[in-house]
């Protein structure tokens, strides 16, 4: 495997920050940030060994483009679960 645990840990910890920012932006009806974050997660989830995060990224980006708050919220919840499980496995 070419992804070290330290990189994975850093990656998941940064998603916790993403989750906070996503929640904040949604409370302010800001759809730009979910689009940016969604696009980024779409591109890097699989690379770090988290294909589900890439799926969430796609959903987030599409939800942001459609300004679909519900879809974004569902994606945030799912992201919280995946990050939690990932961190448990690493510790």
């Amino acid at each position: 495997m070419y992804i070290l645990s330290e990189h994975k840990l850093k990656y998941l910890n940064r998603r916790i920050i993403d989750i906070e920012e996503l929640k904040n932006s949604l409370s302010q009806n800001d759809f730009d940030l979910p689009k940016i974050i969604g696009h980024r997660l779409k591109g890097n989830g699989v690379t770090f060994g988290y294909p589900l995060i890439s799926e969430i990224g796609i959903a987030l980006e599409m939800g942001a483009i459609a300004k679909d708050k519900l879809k974004i919220l569902e994606s945030i919840d799912l992201l919280i679960q995946v990050v939690d499980e990932g961190l448990k496995l690493l510790h």
Binding site: I3, H7, R14, G43, N44, V46, T47, F48
Partner: protein, 470 residues
């Protein structure tokens, strides 16, 4: 063999996770990585040559300057640097647009990093080949003279010789080139060939002093089957091989008298006969001769035919020795540096000022050939990016006489003007080593590989013969 220590990689992505991951991945594999979140900063660093990139990996979708804009800008000053674009937007149209803009490869996100590594390795190879190609082209185009490739020199003596070569290239008059060994006589002959109407034909060169007389005759004239023992088939000679071109006879002054007569006949009649044949054959090759000898003196001494001398000496061209055209030393050195950088796959950037001064100060008895050998040696042995004074052979190799001397007043051991007997050479050598070692007997005996008793005896003999040694 020295090579560039690390392959330099520039990675541009606003995704800090990927940026860190890729940087770490490539550093672990021996790459030098410079990473940027902003393509404009990367562009500025590459353009100002603060970063010497071999390959760039760039994300397509970046906030300020996109990957496509980055490529377009970089192509304005660097047409060969491979750029690999990464994108999460996978469409064929975008891939085509990227390649058209000058991208080397187009990689889809999510990244499979080992696949990206393969793309980088291929791009590094491409970059290496392109650089090598550029260097080769520049080697032969930087310093052209009279539009001739690899003809280097700017001294008055060199220019005079080459201008004369140009003027006579269109004529059919016989040309003889005079010059010391290694001074570039063949370069002049080649220039006459390349600038004249025979340039489409072959340029055939032979050193008359390098081949025994009987072999040289068959080389020049060819032979028929059965002409002599071992002539199992017929062979065309160099006069015929150079048909419609130029035959360059170097060191003609060393040609044996019988062959001189045959050469004279060929030059007069423009016909040859292969050895063992009666049939004559017309020759159309232009014959250019060269020598390091003073042919006039050779004629006076009876070593060279006077009629051949007059036949050849229609247009004499003198190529001065390198010590008389100092201005050529540095351009030639630069040329040889590029040449041997390529051959040895190293990247020596140039010469230090001290090294340049030394190059110009040496007498280069072996002329351009000696200079070329010295630069080759320096390129191979240099320890830094610049050839320094110590990398260039000392003055003893280029001095007027080959001699061994010490600074403390010991006379030269070998001198052309003072031929010693073998016994005297032995004595002088012991004296030389003894003085060099500060009169330490043990060290001297050790260095001379003789026991101390023998040394004492030898020293006593020396003291009896001459003044005491200490």
């Amino acid at each position: 063999m020295k090579t560039k220590s690390l392959i330099s990689l520039v990675i541009i992505d606003d995704d800090i996770d990927l940026l860190e991951l890729l940087s770490s991945y490539f550093r672990q594999r021996g790459y030098e990585v410079n990473s940027y979140e902003d393509a404009r900063i990367a562009l500025s660093e590459i353009e100002s040559k603060n970063v010497l990139a071999d390959v760039v990996i760039c994300d397509l979708k970046l906030p300020v300057m996109s990957g496509l804009d980055f490529i377009k800008r970089i192509r304005q000053f660097n047409s060969v640097l491979p750029v690999i674009l990464m994108t999460a937007e996978g469409s064929l149209e975008l891939a085509v647009e990227s390649i058209e803009a000058g991208a080397y490869d187009f990689v889809l996100k999510p990244l499979h990093v080992p696949q990206l590594l393969i793309s980088v390795q291929r791009a590094v190879f491409l970059n290496h080949v392109q650089n090598e190609n550029t260097n080769l082209k520049s080697l032969f185009s930087d310093q052209d003279f009279l539009g001739l490739k690899g003809v280097i020199g700017k001294s008055a003596g060199f220019k005079k010789a080459m201008e004369l070569a140009k003027r006579v290239s269109g004529s059919q008059a016989n040309i003889i080139i005079f010059g010391e060994s290694g001074s570039g006589k063949e370069v002049v002959a080649k220039a006459v060939h390349d600038l004249g109407d025979k340039k489409a034909g072959p340029f055939v060169a032979i050193n008359c002093s390098a081949i025994p007389e009987n072999l040289l005759e068959s080389e020049l004239f060819g032979y028929a089957k059965g002409a002599f023992t071992g002539a199992f088939g017929s062979k065309i000679g160099l006069f015929e091989e150079a048909n419609k071109g130029t035959l360059f006879l170097d060191e003609i002054g060393d040609l044996a008298l019988p062959l001189q007569a045959k050469l004279l006949r060929v030059l007069q009649e423009r016909k040859i006969k292969r050895i063992g044949e009666n049939q004559t054959r017309d020759i159309t090759a232009r014959v250019i001769c060269a020598t390091h000898k003073d042919l006039k003196k050779e004629v006076e001494n009876g070593n060279f035919r006077e009629d051949l001398y007059f036949r050849l000496n229609v247009i004499p061209i003198n190529m001065p020795p390198l010590r008389e055209r100092k201005e050529d030393i540095l351009p030639l050195s630069e040329f040889f540096l590029k040449k041997f950088n390529l051959i040895n796959n190293v990247n020596i950037l140039g010469f230090t000022k001290a090294a340049m001064k030394k190059l110009e100060a040496l007498t280069w008895k072996g002329n351009v050939r000696e200079l070329e050998n010295a630069i080759e040696r320096a390129v191979v042995l240099a320890n830094s990016e610049y050839i320094d004074i110590d990398d260039i052979p000392g003055p003893e190799s280029s001095s007027e006489e080959s001699k061994v001397s010490l600074k403390n007043g010991i006379p030269p051991l070998f001198s052309i003007n003072n031929i010693m007997s073998l016994e005297d050479v032995g004595k002088k050598y012991i004296e030389f080593i003894f003085k060099k070692n500060g009169y330490a007997k043990e060290q001297t005996a050790k260095e001379l590989c003789i026991d101390r008793k023998t040394l004492y005896r030898k020293l006593k003999e020396l003291e009896h013969g001459e003044q005491p040694l200490h």
